[in-house]
């Protein structure tokens, strides 16, 4: 009997974690104007409303643009940094290692306030560029940690073998190092993308109207008008995240070589 106690407790916790999110799906097909559950009737009208609403579609496009941009920028910064930290000894390493982690230490409200007062004199508040810069810096530590972890487990004998077989440093990097690290880098990239895609607080402060992302628009809709389209967006987002998680599991499950 005692053996089943952890299983039962875990099951209860899992239900607590998942069940509240499941309620969103029937809500998105509900006919109710406000938050009403169980729904008085079902239709797909709010899906139609989402796909014909200029402001929701624009927020969706903004979310994708900003998440893609900050994913790219995050990788450009985090990938070389991971190599620098794992493979080299240099002056100030331990301090800089802490510096790299600062963006995930600072509470999001504090960062958001900082970004607002820093970006507004530069006329970057309410722009895609401002959002991409802000989100990249927030994602750099996460991507850095993920890639560093993979790089630490990398067997450098593979590179030595390639070099001794006559490959130059660049060739070795492109044909040996990168393919082995690819799953880790992809996971880092996915984390950066999803982080930006879900991030609400900084967006609320600095996205303005023109660069408004989905989390910001949802937050404001919930607060002001309780637009039933929120349920539709939530369902679509949860579906997309589920897809992303499955994708990352697929990447992770694949053997490291090949």
């Amino acid at each position: 009997m005692v053996r089943y106690v952890p299983l039962v407790l875990a099951l209860l916790a899992a239900i607590f974690l998942v069940a509240p999110m499941a309620i969103i799906v029937p809500m998105s097909f509900s006919k109710a104007i406000s938050f009403e559950f169980p729904p008085p009737g079902y239709w797909t009208g709010y899906y139609a409303q989402y796909f014909s609403s200029h402001s929701w579609l624009e927020a969706t496009a903004n979310s994708f643009i900003i998440a893609s941009g900050s994913m790219a920028l995050t990788l450009i910064a985090a990938l070389p940094a991971a190599f620098g930290f794992v493979r080299h000894r240099f002056y100030g390493k331990s301090v800089l290692n802490l510096v790299m982690l600062v963006p995930i230490i600072v509470p999001a409200v504090v960062s958001a306030l900082g970004y607002y007062s820093f970006l507004s004199p530069l006329h970057l508040v309410g722009t895609h560029a401002g959002m991409i810069l802000a989100h990249s810096v927030l994602s750099i530590p996460v991507a850095f940690l993920v890639i560093t972890a993979v790089l630490k487990g990398f067997d450098r004998n593979l590179e030595r073998a390639a070099m001794s077989a006559g490959a130059g440093p660049l060739r070795t990097f492109l044909w040996v190092t990168m393919p082995v690290l690819r799953p880790g880098i992809l996971i880092g990239a996915l984390f950066a993308f999803l982080h930006s895609f879900n991030e609400a607080v900084v967006a609320i402060f600095i996205a303005g109207r023109d660069a408004s992302t989905l989390p910001k628009k949802m937050f404001e809709s919930i607060r002001l008008e309780s637009d039933p389209v929120i349920a539709v967006v939530s369902t679509l987002l949860t579906g997309a995240v589920l897809l992303g998680v499955l994708l990352s599991l697929f990447v992770r499950k694949r053997p490291a070589s090949r």
């Binding site: 053996r3 952890p6 875990a10 209860l12 916790a13 899992a14 607590f16 974690l17 509240p20 999110m21 969103i24 938050f35 559950f37 169980p38 450009i76 910064a77 070389p80 940094a81 620098g84 930290f85 493979r87 080299h88 240099f90 002056y91 100030g92 800089l96 290692n97 802490l98 510096v99 982690l101 600062v102 963006p103 995930i104 230490i105 600072v106 509470p107 409200v109 504090v110 306030l113 900082g114 007062s117 820093f118 990249s136 810096v137 750099i140 996460v142 850095f144 895609f197 879900n198 609400a200 607080v201 989390p215 937050f219 919930i222 929120i230 349920a231 939530s234 987002l237 998680v245 599991l249």
Partner: protein, 275 residues
């Protein structure tokens, strides 16, 4: 950059390292640490140069209440997450399969779900009506709903921290304890629990510090009567446009977070917090 002082001291290797690390470090310093410096500056200069905001924050009883409420709520959320997350991570660590399903669903979406559940036309209210208990108590926009929502949103972080440590505990230790006569619970208490404590500490520090400055959920689900720090900041900016005072509160919040993480860093090393 002290590394460049005295050409004899720097090797080519450390120069390469600096070049590799530079883009990220410059990004973080210029685009993050400098903006945080702005907040610090704003808190003592807006509207005039003085420490008045801090004096006000630490002397007015209302703000002391906000601090107490923030720490109390964070503590409750952390303990609730631990109670729910420990068995979940325990079971997952032994099955070695997928997790992180709800980890990446945004805070806003998950908070929205609780708005429906606890709302006055939601399933809880419907159950009350169905059972004939009359109208349910006010659930939404209370510190209860805010605490519940934050527990739900932060639980995955707790599970992930615990899972990271538990996964590395060799199951043969437990079998060894049982073969030597320990009962299942005894084997758990004497062998598994002590080994998993590092994960408990990580998870609690992570959830507690995240909870201190949590923005979305307390604002959407909570009440202005029992404010948390983030609600106070939001109120000062949106209703009163008091950027200076809001910045001072943000600095206090940052200081609390840094002190907690500083203590953690002293004993465990900050790198380990995220597994």
């Amino acid at each position: 950059m002290p590394a460049f002082r005295g050409a004899g001291l720097i090797s080519r290797d450390s120069l390469t390292a600096w070049l590799l690390v530079a883009p990220a470090v410059v990004c973080v310093v210029v685009l993050f640490i400098v903006p945080i410096g702005y907040v610090l500056l704003l808190s003592v200069t807006d509207p005039t140069v003085s420490l008045d905001h801090y004096r006000r924050f630490f002397t007015v009883p209302l703000y002391a209440n906000v601090m107490v409420n923030t720490f109390r709520t964070s503590l409750i959320v952390t303990l609730a997450c631990l109670a729910l997350g420990y068995p979940l991570a325990y079971v997952m660590a032994r099955r070695d399969d997928a997790l992180a399903v709800s980890f990446w669903t945004g805070f806003v979406v998950r908070t929205y779900a609780w708005l429906i559940i606890l709302g006055n036309k939601g399933p809880v209210a419907a159950t009350y009506a169905f059972a004939g208990w009359g109208s349910p108590p006010q659930l939404l926009f209370t510190s209860f709903s805010s605490t519940l929502g934050m527990t739900h949103v932060l639980l995955p972080y707790m599970v992930l921290a615990l899972y990271g440590v538990m996964r590395k505990i060799d199951p043969s230790y437990m079998r060894a304890a049982e073969s030597l006569g320990a009962r299942p619970f005894g084997a758990f208490r004497l062998v598994f629990l002590p080994l998993s404590l590092a994960g408990v500490v990580n998870g609690c520090v992570l959830v507690f510090t995240m909870c201190l400055g949590f923005y979305v959920t307390p604002i959407l689900l909570g009440t202005p009567k029992d404010m948390m720090i983030s609600q106070l900041i939001s109120q000062q900016i949106e209703d009163l446009l008091a950027w200076g005072f809001a910045s001072a509160i943000a600095v206090v919040l940052l200081a609390c977070t840094l002190v907690l993480l500083g203590i953690y860093n002293r004993f465990a090393g900050l790198d380990r917090l995220w597994g």
